[in-house]
Symmetry: C2
Amino acid sequence: MYNQQAYEMGDNCCVIRDIAEYGAVRAQEVGAENVFNFTIGNPSLPAPAEITQAVADVMQEMGALRTHSYTSAQGDLSARKAIAEDLNNRFGTDVTPAELFVGCGASAELCSVFRALSVPGGEILTIAPYFSEYEPFAQTAGLELKVVPPDVPDFQIKLDAVEAALTENTVAIIINSPNNPSGVVYTRETLQKLGALLERKSEEFGHPIYIVADEPYRELAYDGVEVPFIPTIYRNTIVCYSYSKSLSLPGERIGYIYVPRKATDGEAIYTAVAGAARGYGHICAPSLWQYVLARCAHLRPDLTEYDRNRKALWEGLRKAGYEVAKPDGAFYLFVKVPGGDANAFVKKAMEKDLLVVPGDSFGCPGYVRLCYCVSYEQIQRSLPIFESLI
Amino acid sequence: MYNQQAYEMGDNCCVIRDIAEYGAVRAQEVGAENVFNFTIGNPSLPAPAEITQAVADVMQEMGALRTHSYTSAQGDLSARKAIAEDLNNRFGTDVTPAELFVGCGASAELCSVFRALSVPGGEILTIAPYFSEYEPFAQTAGLELKVVPPDVPDFQIKLDAVEAALTENTVAIIINSPNNPSGVVYTRETLQKLGALLERKSEEFGHPIYIVADEPYRELAYDGVEVPFIPTIYRNTIVCYSYSKSLSLPGERIGYIYVPRKATDGEAIYTAVAGAARGYGHICAPSLWQYVLARCAHLRPDLTEYDRNRKALWEGLRKAGYEVAKPDGAFYLFVKVPGGDANAFVKKAMEKDLLVVPGDSFGCPGYVRLCYCVSYEQIQRSLPIFESLI
């Protein structure tokens, strides 16, 4: 007498956590410095000092009672104003606080949006490689997740494959750029073409097909590459943002959903998102962090260290003979494995205490994902092991 | 093309928030001191000073990187250890960290537990008066919420009514004591009788009927009244706890779920709870607050102020001629309205800028709920208005 689907979701937890836990055990056995753990996308940079200061300031100035009280479910107005202002300053948009819903990080936000868009028989597309948690999120929301094959080796979007996967039941396509796990940033051209295709198909099917933009990595882009703000390219875009990576606050669960009023049924969908969140037990995002955001939404991460890691690992791997997707964003490298069997590679690597995640977990066999949010030293010391594995 | 159920949940948000928002508008018009708002269960006591100190200590000692990193989904071991230790010290239990899941407050926890217990055609009972959010939580989880009529005027539990409502499809009964909105604490005798009934019916139906104990108010009890720890009375009890009220942290979203291993299918249900939480987008409870809990799980609120409010309001109302349920716990009074029409009373009160919530919202017409987590002065100044309304 318990829910079988929920049981299975609890039992088959992600491969990534399993490997990471193996790493924790090995670290105790052989010393943390001898385990080369590239599995977990936990930022290795601390939150900016302004954040720590803002925590102290908020608690000092507002006092415990006001700081820790409930906010409205959609988030305190001060936070939503700061987020809107930041977006408008950067993208020339006219986002208003009423279009924003402060959420508990991208995962919870995606779940609410999936639920809000869920209709009987509804399908949502994702593009391989993709974040594996989309599967339980969609399943719980009552949507079928359909995977569009990867655009190898560039990891942009294969438009003909998207077109082939679109049906009358498609309610949305989820886009994650900069991409986990590929590290690739979708170009403006890619997004424009996708937008044009979706417009054409929306018209054909007689209902909108939304883009759900999963954007925890938006601020993590290198070499000046552009990360377009998708609502300015495609009107029917719903953004799920998280400060987990950009402000190094992954454990604190804070981000926002942006549902443009100008999107088709924009106001109704905002309401449905709020209702879905309510039915999932959302009361408000952690209030202290809302007030910190009200002061810090404009902050950007200093990417110097990630960039140094990225270059060192990318160059080292290519010198060793690996084929790597162009890592313009996030903190991941997506590496083609010699021989093509990622699981075999992962096992071989594990024997040398080098931990990476098979691309199979992201709907893309034949590749492994490396998180380079680790110490520079770990990267340097791991390169000879990578060399020995090719 | 959006989810109708979610839309309705977003659109028909709770009456309580509507009245509270009216209060906010009136406060701007006539001054906050002239609006007697008894609607929102937002603690009026600040969090204990030890909490504020612990926030500073955690951030200082652990540093931003460790403090704000992801924890495991079930919560950092240090927090679960502290919670287990606190429970065991108080109740002579043998709770282990492996039986605890640190959650984002009672609402999110209840949603995950409801989902974990949801089977096709499944029903969950609640006892009127009850927290109205159980309805969207159950509906989203796919359970039918069935309401057992109130035990007027004592607001204990009508066992024959529970028995009549139990069917083969009943998976659980949700118990909220100290109760929102009645302020009543279920006695040990009530709970023992309920446990015996459920045991008998579980045997008859051939499957367990769980108690889901919704316990945000457990620490808020007055005059030395006992709040029994239900798992020690009925084995198949799942506890959803929140620090929102006891430590005055409602906006921060932190609590825990306790699924005893000794409960029937205890381990599987823990797994299903974790899976349900995953499918709702739970990554971890806010990490800073987990580490604060690791240091502060043993803290208890100082109830002096609430108790003074409680007595003043209770006595004042009774003197004026109102019938009030015995307010042994939480920070609510449940008041029978003269004439029996709570909505009419609420409207009449509103005209005098006195804001209370109709019992209809809690499945119990003919009553209104008063939150006395307000200033003592507000209580004193409101008593003449209450007198004028009878």
